[in-house]
Amino acid sequence: MSAADDLAFLSIAEAAPLIRDRKLSPVKWTEALIDRISRYDGRVNAFLRFTPDIALADARRAEAEISCGHWRGPLHGVPYGLKDIIDYAGLPTTAHSAILKDSIAVSDARVTERLRAAGAVFMGKLSTHEFALGGPCFDLPWPPARNPWNRDHFCGGSSSGSGVATAAGFLPFAIGTDTGGSVRNPATMCGVVGIKPTYGLVSRRGVFPLAYSLDHVGPLTRTVRDNAIVLNMIAGHDGGDPGSVARPYVDHTAQLGKDVKGLRIGWLRHFYEEDIQADPQMGAAVDAAVATLRDLGAQVNEVTTVPLSRFQACNRVIMGSESYAIHERWLRERPQDYGDITRQRLLYGAMYSAADYINALRLRARYTAEFHALFRDVDVVVTASAHDPACRIDDFEACEFIYSRQARAPFNVTGSPAMAVPAGFSREGLPLGIQIVGAPYDEALVYRVGAAYEAATSWTAQRPNLVA
């Protein structure tokens, strides 16, 4: 492993004290990542807009401040990227779409403001499925991102570039969004950690909406600890987001390193064994992860909730209705400016009635209450994230097939914190993953369980080979 590779895969937790103590130069780190992105991003297409000039200016500013003794905290001088539905003032927010390709953001999203205040180094805007909804489209102004573990394969989405850039060693963290699983899907398929925090914990202001009541903003990182560090910096009340909640500050790293002995883990097996049968390799990975947690001393008990198909229908009707309301005018006036897959998916929403939407919301209240009631008897729930390893990116039918074979959408319906954590590799060398779900606002416990599992395995230490 070369020194450049060491910098590429440096974690935030490793880098932060080195930067604080002036043993690691943010400028040198940023330069190393700029070099890596310049050499390899053409192979995986993580970036829609790479901004090395901004990055170097941010890094120099951070270095100057730190050299004067003003260290802002663990993200000071740390490079990151934003999914390109999140505003960065002065740059286009394209949503990976011809429709918005010249749309310049006039101000920062709230999450961008927070990262700017934390002194993080902005590296660019990252690939997404068009409007966070379409699949891997080849008929858009930019190519789709590709899986760094096998570039012929899908990398998940819709926060595709966020997953790819993190896994590929381009960035130690990236920000994505999740309406039906769009942080956790690329996290699983790219072998990184991604959390959808509790609804309302991270502001959505300045993020192009897909479905108002289901949209969440969350970080993707290579380790659980890094994820908690980033969430600490981006969580918080924002009066500019009607869904934002005012909560006392919580240190999401506080429980990291504690063991899981005696913790009650609900094993939500029917989602992937009965409701929609997972690929055997994925199912076996989840089962093995549960066994590992049991070996670590957790009390594992099987739990049941609303069938997965019911949750998914609820999620899709709400998402379809809300997204159609947002896109209806463009669909009427300029439908051919959307990619084929996006246009197809948006059209579903045209078919739902007001009663369908309201009924989905009424069921949402029931399902949420039923799922949250589980936490009277368990501390966290473990289940699958994706039901299949990544398919080939050029296989449209396979991408459509695996699109709905997942156990992530239920937790957009319930608003629960849900984290995807790597859980091994398929025979073909593609990442597998699990999902850990907590009670509302209990991200710290989700991170604790994820970190304990991570420490007992070596999955997050694996690195893809971009050179071959």
């Binding site: 439908p335 051919q336 059209l347 078919m351 989905a360 209240a365």
Partner: protein, 68 residues
Amino acid sequence: MASLGQEDLLVARKLAQRLGLDRLSEADMQKLLVAERTAQMRRSALDTSVLTPADEPALVFRLPGAGL
């Protein structure tokens, strides 16, 4: 995808017209019918039989300041 027969095409065009989606292409007519079928599947997977009139939607109108 196989192309649509004349009857399906007519149905799809009428649907597009009703929705105000006049600028969809001929190729999109098939998408529209796929969307209709998929939406119907999802709608029928909504288990509304469990709902009573007292079941309110998850999102209800709240006045600013309510609950403080």
